[in-house]
C-alpha cells in the first residue's frame, strides 16, 4: 500500500505542508478564503529541534491503537486507511491519548481529526505531498 514517508534530510521546515493540509480539509475552493486571518489547525505538523525538522502525520498503522481504543467505533480502518466518522465521535479523546505518534488532534468542529490521506476531500491524493517543495514528504509504495 502507498504510504506517506517523511525524510527529515530534505525537510526544510517551511511549514507549507501544514497550510496545504489545512486548505485541503477546509472545504473551500480558494486558499485565501480558507486560510486568511485564521490560525490553522492542520492534520500534519512540523516538529523542529535545532536544525532538524520533519512533518508528522498519521502513519496508518497496520495494527492501529487508536482504532482499538475508540469507544464508539468512530475510527475504522478500511483498505489500510484509518478514517474517522465524526457523527459517531463523542470527543472522548482516548485515541489522542493512545496514538504513540501524537497524530490525532481535536478538530475545530468538536470531534477529533486526523490525516485521512485526502481520500475524503477534493484533493484525491495527499495535498501535503503535492505541496512539499523538496520532496521531503513522499506518498509511495515501499
Amino acid at each position: 500500500m502507498k504510504r506517506i514517508y517523511v525524510n527529515e534530510k530534505w525537510c526544510l521546515g517551511c511549514h507549507l505542508c501544514e497550510y496545504y493540509c489545512a486548505f485541503a480539509n477546509s472545504g473551500k475552493n480558494d486558499m485565501v478564503k480558507a486560510l486568511k486571518n485564521i490560525t490553522i489547525n492542520p492534520r500534519i505538523r512540523i516538529e523542529e529541534h535545532n536544525n532538524v525538522s520533519f512533518a508528522v502525520s498519521c502513519r496508518h498503522c497496520e495494527e492501529p491503537l487508536c482504532v482499538k481504543s475508540c469507544i464508539t467505533g468512530a475510527l475504522t480502518i478500511k483498505d489500510g486507511v484509518i478514517s474517522v466518522n465524526s457523527d459517531k465521535c463523542v470527543g472522548c479523546y482516548t485515541c489522542i491519548l493512545s496514538c504513540p505518534y501524537g497524530c490525532i488532534s481535536p478538530s475545530d468542529q468538536g470531534a477529533i481529526q486526523k490525516c485521512e490521506l485526502c481520500v475524503k476531500n477534493a484533493g484525491g491524493s495527499p495535498a501535503c505531498v503535492k505541496g512539499c517543495p523538496n520532496k521531503a514528504i513522499e506518498w509511495v509504495e515501499r
Binding site: 534530510k9 530534505w10 525537510c11 526544510l12 521546515g13 517551511c14 511549514h15 507549507l16 497550510y19 496545504y20 486548505f23 486558499m31 485565501v32 486560510l35 486568511k36 486571518n37 536544525n51 505541496g131 517543495p133 523538496n134 520532496k135 521531503a136
Partner: protein
C-alpha cells in the same frame, strides 16, 4: 553618508489581500527580507536586502508576492546610466573592487541569435527522428592520421584514449565549494544517467563521488587544490584549466569561511584558510611549459586518459588553440566571455574576452588551415542557452558543448547573481547546511536529465530537418548556417553566408 544611500533596484510587492501570513517567505529567505508583525498580523519586507532570487515568490502558496524593477530613477542619461552612477557611489564608499557573479550581462551581440539553421525542401528529404535512427553519439579525443593494418589485414586500434558521449553536452567545471555537495551529486548522477560527463572544477573530488568516476572529468587548475594520484585516477579525463570566460587572466578566491568540513578535506587545505588560485599556473609561463604539464599528467595516469586544456576566449584564441593542439592536448575547451562564475571582478567579467561564437569559428578554421583539426576535439562553453545554440555551435565546428549556467538553472538557480554572498536560497552556491538541504539531488538530477533529454530531442528534430542523421555530419557543416543582420567581417569570421545568399 547620504550619498551612499542607494534605492533598492527591485521592490517586493505583496498583495495583502492574498497573504495568509503562512510565513514561508520569512522562513525561506536567507537574506531576511521578510518578517512577521504579530501585533498587526501582517508580513513586512525590506527590499534593500532582497537579491531577487525568487525563492519567496516561488514558494508563496497564494501568489501574494512578486518582485518588480523599481521605477525610482536617476535623471535619465544614456551615458551615465543608473548602473554607472551607482557603481561610482559604491566604490567611492568602499574603495573596493566590484564583484559580480554569473556571466557577462551587457548588451553585446549574441551571435547565436544572428545565425539561422537550414532545412531540406524537395531536393533532398528531411528525416523524421521518430521513425529513423538519429545519432548523437560523439567521441572526443585525438584522431589517428593513418590507419594501420596487421598482417591479416585487420585494423590495428591506434586510437589514443577517447571520451564517449551519448549526447554532445557536458556539464562544465563548477567546484565543490563554489557549489554545494547536493549540486555536485545532482550533476554526477545526471552525467551517469545521460552517458556524458560532469567536471569537478578546481575543488577536488569528494570521496562519495568516486563511484561516478567514469562520468567525471577532474580538473587541475592553478591552485592545484585536491590534486593527488587517486584524484587523477578517478576521472575519465583530466582538464587543465588555464582560464575561464568570466574572468580571463584572473585566478580564483574561495573565502576561508567556505573552507569548512568536507570542503577543506576535499581541497586538501586547512579549515578556514582562503583558497586562492593564482592567475597563471606558476609552472606554465609559456606554451612549452603547458606541453610539459600535459605530458606529466599523461605520464602520471599511464596515458590512459585524454587531457583537456581549457582556455578563455581571448583575442588571440586561434593561435593559442593551435599551440595547444600541437602541445599534446587531446581536447581543447574554450570558454566564451558570457561564461558564468561564482565571483569575478565586475570590470573583468564585463569587458574582457570575446564571444564564444567568433572564437569557435576562428579556432576551428585555424586548426583546419593548419591541418591539425584532427589532433584535438573542440568543446565550447560560455553561454549555451538552448538546443539551437548547440546545433549552431556544432555546425560552426564544435565537437561538443559545456553547459554550466543552464545546468544551474535546471537545478533552480534564478540568476540573482549573488553567489559570492554564500547565501544561495536554492541550495546551490552555498555551504550552509540548512540551505544546501534545499537542493534535493533526487529532484536535481532528474531535472538535469530532463533538460538534456529535451535538448537532445530538439537537436534531433533540427538535424532531421536538415536531412542529417548523425551528429558528425553536422560538425563543421557551416553551409547549414546563414547569418542575419551581420556585416561582411562578421560573416567572414564565422565562415558563413548571409541569409538569402
Amino acid at each position: 553618508m547620504p550619498i551612499d544611500f542607494l534605492y533598492p533596484e527591485y521592490e517586493v510587492i505583496r498583495d495583502n489581500t492574498r497573504c495568509i501570513t503562512c510565513r514561508v517567505c520569512e522562513r525561506q529567505c536567507a537574506n531576511e527580507v521578510h518578517h512577521y508583525d504579530k501585533e498587526l498580523n501582517m508580513m513586512f519586507s525590506d527590499e534593500s536586502k532582497c537579491v531577487v532570487c525568487h525563492r519567496c515568490v516561488s514558494l508563496c502558496p497564494t501568489r501574494a508576492l512578486k518582485i518588480v524593477k523599481t521605477d525610482n530613477t536617476f535623471k535619465e542619461n544614456a551615458n551615465w546610466t543608473g548602473d554607472a552612477i551607482t557603481e561610482v557611489y559604491r566604490q567611492a564608499g568602499t574603495g573596493g573592487v566590484l564583484l559580480s557573479s554569473m556571466g557577462n550581462p551587457k548588451p553585446y551581440p549574441i551571435y547565436w541569435d544572428k545565425m539561422l539553421i537550414n532545412a531540406s525542401q524537395v531536393t533532398n528529404p528531411s528525416i523524421d527522428p521518430l521513425r529513423e535512427p538519429m545519432e548523437t553519439r560523439t567521441f572526443l579525443g585525438k584522431k589517428p592520421t593513418k590507419v594501420e593494418y596487421d598482417q591479416k589485414g585487420g585494423i590495428i586500434n591506434n586510437l589514443t584514449p577517447q571520451l564517449d558521449l551519448k549526447v554532445p553536452i557536458m556539464f562544465s567545471a563548477m567546484s565543490y565549494g563554489s557549489i554545494s555537495y547536493n549540486a555536485h551529486e545532482s550533476l554526477a548522477r545526471a552525467a551517469k544517467e545521460l552517458g556524458t560527463f560532469y567536471n569537478t572544477g578546481e575543488g577536488g573530488l569528494h570521496k562519495d563521488f568516486y563511484k561516478y568516476g567514469k562520468n567525471t572529468i577532474v580538473q587541475v587548475a592553478s591552485g592545484r587544490f585536491g590534486v593527488y594520484k587517486d584524484y587523477l585516477e578517478q576521472g575519465s579525463a583530466i582538464e587543465i584549466k588555464i582560464g575561464q570566460g568570466a574572468k580571463p587572466g584572473i585566478g580564483g578566491h574561495l573565502p576561508g569561511a567556505k573552507i569548512v568540513g568536507d570542503i577543506s578535506k576535499t581541497r586538501m587545505i586547512p579549515e578556514g584558510s582562503d583558497a586562492i588560485s593564482p592567475a597563471p599556473h606558476h609552472d606554465i609561463y609559456s606554451i612549452e611549459d603547458l606541453r610539459q604539464l600535459v605530458y606529466s599528467l599523461k605520464e602520471a595516469t599511464n596515458y590512459k586518459k585524454p587531457v583537456i586544456v581549457k582556455i578563455a576566449a581571448v583575442h588571440n584564441v586561434a593561435a593559442i588553440a593551435s599551440g595547444i593542439a600541437r602541445g599534446g592536448a587531446d581536447i581543447i575547451a574554450i570558454d566564451g566571455y558570457r561564461g558564468g562564475t561564482g565571483a569575478a571582478p565586475t570590470r573583468i567579467r564585463d569587458n574582457v574576452g570575446i564571444p564564444i561564437e567568433l572564437a569557435l569559428a576562428s579556432v576551428d578554421q585555424r586548426l583546419r588551415d593548419e591541418g591539425i583539426r584532427g589532433n584535438v576535439s573542440v568543446v565550447v562553453g560560455g553561454s549555451v542557452r538552448n538546443s539551437a545554440d548547440i546545433v549552431k555551435a556544432i555546425a560552426l565546428g564544435a565537437d561538443a558543448v559545456y553547459i554550466g549556467t543552464s545546468a544551474l538553472l535546471a537545478l533552480g538557480c534564478h540568476q540573482c547573481r549573488s553567489c559570492q554572498t554564500g547565501r544561495c536560497n536554492w541550495g546551490i552556491a552555498t555551504q550552509r547546511p540548512e540551505l544546501v538541504r534545499r537542493l534535493n539531488p533526487n529532484i536535481g538530477y532528474e531535472r538535469l536529465v530532463n533538460l538534456v533529454h529535451a535538448w537532445e530531442h530538439e537537436i534531433k528534430e533540427m538535424m532531421g530537418g536538415m536531412g542529417i542523421n548523425s551528429i558528425e555530419a553536422l560538425r563543421g557543416n557551416r553551409l547549414m548556417l546563414r547569418g542575419i543582420g551581420l556585416n561582411e567581417k562578421e560573416l567572414s569570421i564565422l565562415g558563413i553566408k548571409h541569409a538569402g545568399e
